[in-house]
């Protein structure tokens, strides 16, 4: 049975290592925070200017001056710190953040990623995604294996305008975990009950 969004997040959480600083994108990546193994310490960075991000506030305790990059109200854990946008991207560009998890529209077999623009449609902008993917040593993409039309999102070559080049190291989808290697996508793990054939069929790239 293919994983749901929470299942994808839970699987990604297993990739986290003790003492890592992690940036989680909007959507499925945000859910990763709910599944951190108890035995490890990780800190969450949000690029609008907080390290040590905690859970959503209790009702009535929201603070308009305390949000995450998705503009959601959040809380700060003990030991948290606030900083400005230039410092935030100094952390990201300077590779002080060990892992970035983000969503994508397309990933190619050489690690290119497209997730910000569909020609002809309203373009909302790349936000911090281009900085994140160009900088991080370690990028995991969290997404569904196919789009709503059933077409593969793991391609030989991205058809949409790129967000970054050759940067994705790992993709976790509803069907599988795949590494991006010099030889293209390498199947690491199948979702429970999903066959190799199903995954191959849903994967355009090699």
């Amino acid at each position: 049975m293919a994983l749901d969004k929470n299942g994808i997040a839970k699987r990604i959480a297993q990739e986290l290592q003790d003492r890592w600083y992690v940036n989680l994108g909007i959507g499925i990546p945000t859910l990763v925070a709910n599944h951190i193994p108890e035995e490890i310490s990780v800190d969450f960075q949000s690029e609008n200017g907080i390290l040590g991000m905690g859970p959503f506030p209790f009702e009535g305790e929201e603070d308009a001056d305390l949000i995450n990059a998705g503009k959601q109200t959040i809380t700060a854990l003990p030991g948290a710190v606030y900083f400005d946008s230039a410092t935030s991207f100094a952390m990201i560009r300077g590779q002080h953040v060990q892992l970035t998890v983000l969503g994508a529209m397309e990933v190619s077999e050489n690690g290119d990623i497209a997730n910000w623009k569909i020609p002809g449609k309203m373009v909302k902008g790349m936000g911090g995604a281009m900085d994140l993917v160009a900088s991080a040593d370690n990028i995991i993409v969290a997404m569904m294996h196919t789009n709503k039309k059933g077409e593969s999102k793991l391609l030989k070559q991205c058809s949409l305008p790129l967000t970054g080049v050759g940067c994705v190291k790992k993709v976790v989808t509803n069907l599988a975990v795949l590494d991006v290697t010099k030889e293209g996508f390498k199947l690491i793990e199948r979702a429970p009950g999903v066959s190799v054939e199903e995954i191959k069929k849903a994967t355009e790239g090699n």
Binding site: S46, E47, N48, G49, I50, P55, F56, P57, F58, E59, G60, E61, E62, D63, A64, D65, L66, I67, N68, A69, G70, K71, Q72, T73, I74, A76, Y82, F83, D84, S85, A86, S88, F89, I92, R93, D112, K117, M122, V123, K124, G125, M126, G127, G128, A129, M130, D131, A134, S135, P161, L162, T163, G164, V165, G166
Partner: protein, 233 residues
Amino acid sequence: MINKVVASAEEACRGIQSGMTIMLGGFGLCGIPENCISELVKLKINNLTCISNNAGVDDFGLGFLLQQRQIKKMVSSYVGENDEFERQMLSGELEVDLIPQGSLAERCRAAGAGIPAFYTPAGYGTEVGEGKEVRIFNGKPHILEEALTADYAIVKAWKGDKTGNLIFKGTARNFNPAMAMAGKITIAEVEELVEPGELDPNQIHVPGIFIQKIFEGDSYEKRIEQRTTRKKD
């Protein structure tokens, strides 16, 4: 101490004219200069180029200026929360220049710091990198990005003193410090204006040297864009 105090948003914004480039601090609706935005609406100036990470929502923040068609061009990293923005962009009324968020912040800081250009990996191999110089450092391609300045920068802080020293609260800091450095003239509006010496000199986020005018805002709505909560057990 050099006194930077002006009486009001009206006095602070005197001098801002149609056709100018204006930077506005904030991330989403968090840490935006609400009082100066209202004043810009009142001034009825137009053809503005606004540099701001986001473009507000339909009925708050920069959305007010969009409703009045005062903005000719937006320079932002993400503009997804505003129907009027979408309409004007798709109809071609509004020019939009999208910049990676980290490059936007660093380009503002660079302008303020007298760094005319720097290399960054962000945007290499994408539309953002088109036409820009590419250079390899440490085996990795980077593109050259230039400093970004503005006729006026308008920032919003939590506390400020009369000489322009600023302190921010929480994630309302965001783009405000880098933009405060980048304006040819920088206006700071604050929730609380105090005497010089009342702020601990160790704890100031933006030194007053970057600020030309400061005033205490009349009122702050501080609207929340995405109210997310959890229930107590």
